[in-house]
Symmetry: C3
Subunit: 459 residues, 3 copies
C-alpha cells in the first residue's frame, strides 16, 4: 500500500533526531530559568519572599487549559476524518511538541534577551503554546494531504515568521492582541490557506471517499470541539494583565461563545434543505466566537458587545462553510480540509476589526485607573484613535506576512522529497502508521466486504 | 426518514435566533461588570490594589472544572445510546449554551440587582453553570424522545423556576446548599420526571431496539462519567466560603465518591444473576456519592460521615436502577431514559436529609470561629435545630416546585408544534442531524445487512 | 461464556463491601481534618487569617490534574485492547477508588500521626493519588489476565508496601523524589513485573487474537496518552515546595516531554521495516520523559538537562518495546501486557540515576538561598555527595522491595479462589461485564460472521 516515496524509514527519524539535537544544543547555549523559576534568583534579594506570589499560581492553571486546547482540542477536532484519526492526533502531537520548543527560542529571541540569554517560565510556556496553535491551524488547512516531515518543515518556517510578525505587532506597532485574533488565528489561517493553494492537487477527488467522517469519528471530533469551547476563556485571558483584566477577558469570551453557539445551531438548520444540523458546523462554527473576541476580549467590550460579536462570528462561519468553501475550492483552487478560513480566517479578521473599534472608543471615563493595563501606550500624545489605527495596520501586516510567508513556504514544501501521499492515498492513515490487526472494528468490515465479493465472484 | 413535523428548517432557527436576540438586548439593558471585572471599579478606591487578590484566582479553576462537568460530563454521559450520540452531545451543548445566558439574567434578578443592574463575574458564571446542570438533569429524563426546540422551551421555564426556588431556599428560608443537593439535583430530577410522565408514550417500545448501548457508545459514556466523578469535589466546593470551607467540601466529596464507587461495584455484581457488572450502574450510580454530599459537604461532616453517605448513595442508586426504574415505568408510566431518579432524585433527597441532620448537630465547639462561615444565620435566636428545620422545609418546597413546575411545563411541551420525534424514531440521530456517509462505521453495517438480506431474497 | 470460577456474584460484592466497611470504620477511628480543612482549627489562633492563604489554592489545581491522570489517563491508556475497554476503564476506576482510601490510612500512619490521628487535606489527597498511580502501573503489567478481586487484593498489599518503601526513602534515607521516579514508577513497574512473572500463563496464546488493538480502541487509548502527557508537569510538581520549586519542576517536565516525543517518533519510524509509526510507541514511549525527570525535576536540572533526559528516555523506551519486551516474554516468562517495563521501569531507573547525579553536583552557588527547599538535609556535615549516595541506596531499596514484594504477592494472587479468567478468555470483557445488545457495533460483527458461517454450512 506504500511506495518508496512515502516511506518514512529514514526521512522522519533523520528530521526528528536532527531537529531535537539542534534544539537541545541551542537550549544549552541560550536558555536560562527566569527569576520565578531559578532557585537562586527567586530568593536573591529577599529570603522572606512570599512563595505564594510566584507567578506560577496566577498563570499555570490558564497554561494547563491552553495546553489541553492545543493537544486534545486541536488533536481531536481533526479526528473527524474516518481513516485519519491516528494522523490527526498523532501528527498534531508531533508538530506541537516540536513547535513549542522552537517557539521558545524564536519568541525568546524577539521578546528580548537577558544578557544574551532567553528566560523561561510559565509565561514563555503559554506563549510557546500560542505560537504552536497557529501552526496547528495551518495544519488543519492541509490535513490529509501532507507527510509528517512536510509538517515539521512547515513548522520551522511558520514559527519563525510567527515570532517576527508578533514582534512587529506587539513591540513595533504597540498593538494589543492578548487572545491572538491577529497573531494566532488570522496569521495561522491565511498562512495555511496559501500553503494549501500552492500544494493544490487537481486530482484530489481520487481520495474523495475518504475525505469525510463516519459516526464514531464525528463523536471523537466533538471531544476536541467541546474542550476548545470550554477552555477558550482561559486561552484569551492567559497572558493579559493580572487582576480585573484577566477576569474580564474570560467573562467576555464565555458570553461570546455562548451566543455564537446559538447562532451556529440556528443557521446550521436554516441552510439545510431538510432543516438538519450539520456536524461540520457544530464542530467548528460554534468556536468562532472565541476567535472573534481574541483582540477585544481584554477591553471593556461588555457582555453585550461580546454576545453581538459572538453571534456575528457564528453566523459568518456557518455561511462560510455552506457557501464560501465550495467556491474557494472550485474558483481559487484552495482545498481547505478543515475549513480553517471559516473558523479562524474570517472570525480572526472580524476580531481584529472589533479590537480596533473597541480601542478607538477607549477612554479614562470607562477604564479609570485600569486604562494603562489595557492600553499602556495611550496618553496625551498617543490617542485611542492612534491605537485603533495601529490595530488596523497590524491586521494588514499580519495578512501580508501570512500570505507571502505561506506562498514561499508552500513552494518549499512542494519539493518532491518529503514523502507526501499520492492523490489516491490522501486522508489515509495506513501509509504512515502500522495499522491494527484484522479482528473487529473497521478492518474487519473490509474483510467482510471482500468475503462477500469473493462469494459473488464464485457464484 | 423525516416527515414534515420533525423538520427543523424553520422551527430551530427561529427559536435560536429570536432567543439569542432577546438575550442580547436584555444583556445590553441589564448587565454590568462587577467590581472584580470592571477596569474602572477594580482600582477605584485603591490604585495599589493587589491584583492577585482578585476573586478570579480563587474561583476560576473551580469554574473550569464545573464547566467541564456541564459540557463534557453531562454531554458524554448521555452518549451511551447507540444512535443518539450526536444529539446527546450536541443538544446538551445547545441547551447549556442557552441556559447559562438565561440563568445569568434570572439569577441576577433574584440574587439582587445593583441600581437596576445585574453584576457579573466568576461567581455568576459558576451559578449559571449550576442552574444549567439542573436543566441537563431534566434533559436526561426525556433523552431521545424530544426535539431540540422542545428542550429550549423547557429550559426557558426550568431556568426561571430554578431561580425562584433557589431564591426561596437560600434567601427566604436561609437554607444552606452549596453543592445543590436540593436546588440542582432534587429539583432537576423531579422536574424532569414529571415532564417525562406528562409526555408518556405508550408505544415507545417501537423504538426499543435503539434504546440501548453498543460497545463503543458505552466507552464514550465513560468519558462523561469519569469527568463528572473527578471534578465533583470542585462542583460542591465552587461557591462555598473561601478558605477551610472550600478545602473541606472538596475533601468530603472526594471520600464520599470513593466510598460510593466500591458500593456501586459490589451491589452491581450482587444484583446480577451471573455476577456481571452492569455499565449502567458504573456510569451512573458511582456518581451518587457526589450528589448526596451536595448539602452537607461544606459542613463538618468528617471523612467518616462522607464515606457513610457515599456508601448509602451508591447502594440505593444501584438498587433503584435494578428494581425501581422498571416499576416506575410500568406502574407510574415514567419513562426515565437515563435513570435520573436513581442518580439525582433519590441521592438528592438523601443529601438534603443528611444536610439537615448535619446542620442540627452544628455547634461552636465543633466549628469554633468558623461557624458563621458555614451557618451565617445561627446565633442565640436561631439555633442549629431551626437551621435543620429550614433545610427540611427547603426540601419540601423544592419537591413541590419541581413537581408542579414539571407538570405545567410538561403540558406546554405536549403541544404538537415542536417537532418531537414519532414513536418509531425515538433515540435516533438521523431525524435531526445530517448523517455521515456510508463508508465504514455503523452505516456500513446497515449496508452489509441489507446486502445480506438482498442475497437471501435473490436466492 | 462464564464458568463458575469466574462468576463474581459473591466474590466481588463480599470483597468490595467488606473492604469499604473496614475503611469506613478505620476512618471513623483514625482520620481527622488537618488545620487547613477544619473549621475550628483554621481560625483557632487568628480570626483575621487570610482565607486566600489556605493551602487549597496552591495545591488543588495540581491535585485535579493528577486526579485526571489517574482516572482518565491510566484508565483510557489501557483501552487499547479491542475487547477489554470496559475492564480497562472500569477496573482502573474500582482499584483507584479503593487504593486512594487505603493509601490515606497507610501513608498517614507512616508520615506521622498527630495525637494518634491521621490528618487529611489536599496534600494527603495528592499523596494518595500518587500511591494509587503505582498500583495502576502494576495493573498495566497484568492487564487482561486477572479478575477484579485479584486486583483489589493486590492493591491492599501493594499500597502497604508502597507506604513502607516511601517511608524508608523519604524519612529514613532522606532521599528526594518529588515526582516519584523511584517511589511510584520504579516500584510500581518492578512489583507488577514480578507479579506477572509469578502468574505466568504458558498457554496465553490461546487468547492471542484478543491481545491487540483495533482502530477505534487505539484512538480511545490516545485520550489517555495525551492527558498523561499534558498533565505530567503538574504530577511532578504537585508536592514540591511552593514557589520557584513548583514552577521549575513543571517547566523541566514540560521540556523533557517535548524532547521525548520527538525521540519517540524518530525511533518508532526507524525501527519499523516500512518506516511506519507504531501506535504502541506513541501511546507509551512519548510519556517516558515525564517518568525520567520525576526525581531531578525539582532540582536545577535546567531545560537543557531536562531535554537530554527526555530524549534518552524516549529512545530507550521505544527500543525496549521493539527489542526487549519479546525477550522478556520468551526468555524470562514475563508477560507484560502494557509494556510497563519500557514506560515506567527503565525510565524510572534512569530517573533515579539522573536524580543522584543532579544531587551530586548541587551547590550553594547554583541554588543560593533556595538550596534548603530542594535539599533540606544538605549542610556542612551532609554533603551533596552524601545526598547522591542516599539517592542510589534508595533506588536499590526500591528495586528490592518491589521485587520481593511482587514475588510474595504474586504467589498470594496465584491461589485459585479469585475468579481469574481461563487462558482462552483473557483480554475479554464479557466474562466480567454484562455486554450491550446485538444491534450495531462490534457485537453485530460477530453476528454477521456467524451468519456467514451458517450460510456456508447450509450451502
Amino acid at each position: 500500500m506504500t511506495d518508496y516515496s512515502t516511506n518514512m524509514r529514514l526521512k522522519l527519524p533523520v528530521v526528528c533526531i536532527i531537529l531535537e539535537v539542534i534544539l537541545i544544543i541551542l537550549f544549552g547555549v541560550l536558555v536560562e530559568y527566569n527569576d520565578h523559576t531559578d532557585a537562586k534568583n527567586w530568593k536573591k534579594n529577599n529570603t522572606n519572599i512570599n512563595d505564594m506570589e510566584n507567578e506560577f499560581y496566577y498563570r499555570y492553571p490558564s497554561f494547563q487549559d491552553v495546553h489541553v486546547m492545543i493537544f486534545i482540542g486541536f488533536g481531536f477536532l481533526m479526528t473527524f476524518l474516518q481513516r485519519y484519526g491516528f494522523s490527526s492526533v498523532g501528527f498534531n502531537f508531533l508538530i506541537a511538541a516540536f513547535s513549542l520548543q522552537w517557539a521558545t527560542l524564536m519568541q525568546g529571541f524577539f521578546h528580548g534577551m537577558h544578557h544574551g540569554k532567553i528566560h523561561v517560565g510559565v509565561e514563555s510556556m503559554i506563549n510557546a503554546d500560542f505560537c504552536t496553535g497557529s501552526v496547528l491551524i495551518s495544519f488543519g488547512a492541509v490535513l490529509g494531504k501532507t507527510s509528517p516531515v512536510q509538517m515539521l518543515i512547515m513548522a520551522i518556517f511558520e514559527v519563525t515568521l510567527f515570532a517576527v510578525n508578533e514582534f512587529i505587532l506587539l513591540s513595533l506597532l504597540d498593538a494589543r492582541d492578548a487572545g491572538g485574533s491577529m497573531t494566532i488565528h488570522t496569521f495561522g489561517a491565511y498562512f495555511g490557506l496559501m500553503v494549501t493553494r500552492v500544494l493544490y492537487r487537481p486530482a484530489l477527488n481520487k481520495s474523495k471517499h475518504k475525505n469525510c467522517s463516519v459516526y464514531h469519528s464525528d463523536l471523537f471530533a466533538m471531544i476536541g470541539t467541546i474542550y476548545l469551547w470550554m477552555f477558550w476563556p482561559s486561552f484569551n485571558s492567559a497572558i493579559t494583565s493580572l487582576g480585573d483584566d484577566q477576569h474580564r477577558t474570560a467573562l467576555n469570551t464565555y458570553y461570546s461563545l455562548a451566543s455564537c453557539t446559538l447562532a451556529t445551531y440556528g443557521f446550521s438548520a436554516l441552510v439545510n434543505h431538510e432543516g438538519k444540523l450539520d456536524m461540520v458546523h457544530i464542530q467548528n462554527a460554534a468556536l468562532a466566537g472565541g476567535v472573534a473576541v481574541g483582540t477585544a476580549g481584554e477591553m471593556m467590550l461588555t457582555p453585550f458587545g461580546s454576545m453581538i460579536v459572538g453571534f456575528l462570528a457564528g453566523t459568518i462561519s456557518v455561511l462560510g462553510y455552506k457557501y464560501l468553501t465550495p467556491v474557494l475550492e472550485s474558483k481559487l483552487k484552495i482545498q481547505d480540509t478543515c475549513g480553517v478560513h471559516n473558523l479562524h480566517g474570517m472570525p480572526g479578521v472580524l476580531g481584529a476589526i472589533v479590537g480596533a473599534v473597541t480601542a478607538a472608543v477607549a477612554s479614562s471615563s470607562t477604564y479609570g485607573n485600569g486604562l494603562e493595563d489595557v492600553f499602556p501606550k495611550i496618553n496625551q500624545d498617543f490617542t485611542a484613535s492612534n491605537q485603533a489605527v495601529m490595530q488596523i495596520v497590524s491586521l494588514a501586516v499580519t495578512l501580508g506576512m501570512a500570505l507571502i510567508g505561506g506562498l514561499i513556504v508552500g513552494f518549499i514544501l512542494k519539493l518532491p522529497i518529503y514523502g507526501a501521499p499520492p492523490d489516491t492515498l490522501c486522508f489515509e492513515d495506513s501509509i504512515y502508521w502500522e495499522m491494527p490487526g484484522e479482528e473487529g472494528g473497521h478492518e474487519e468490515l473490509t474483510t467482510v466486504k471482500s468475503a462477500d465479493e469473493t462469494e459473488k465472484l464464485n457464484s
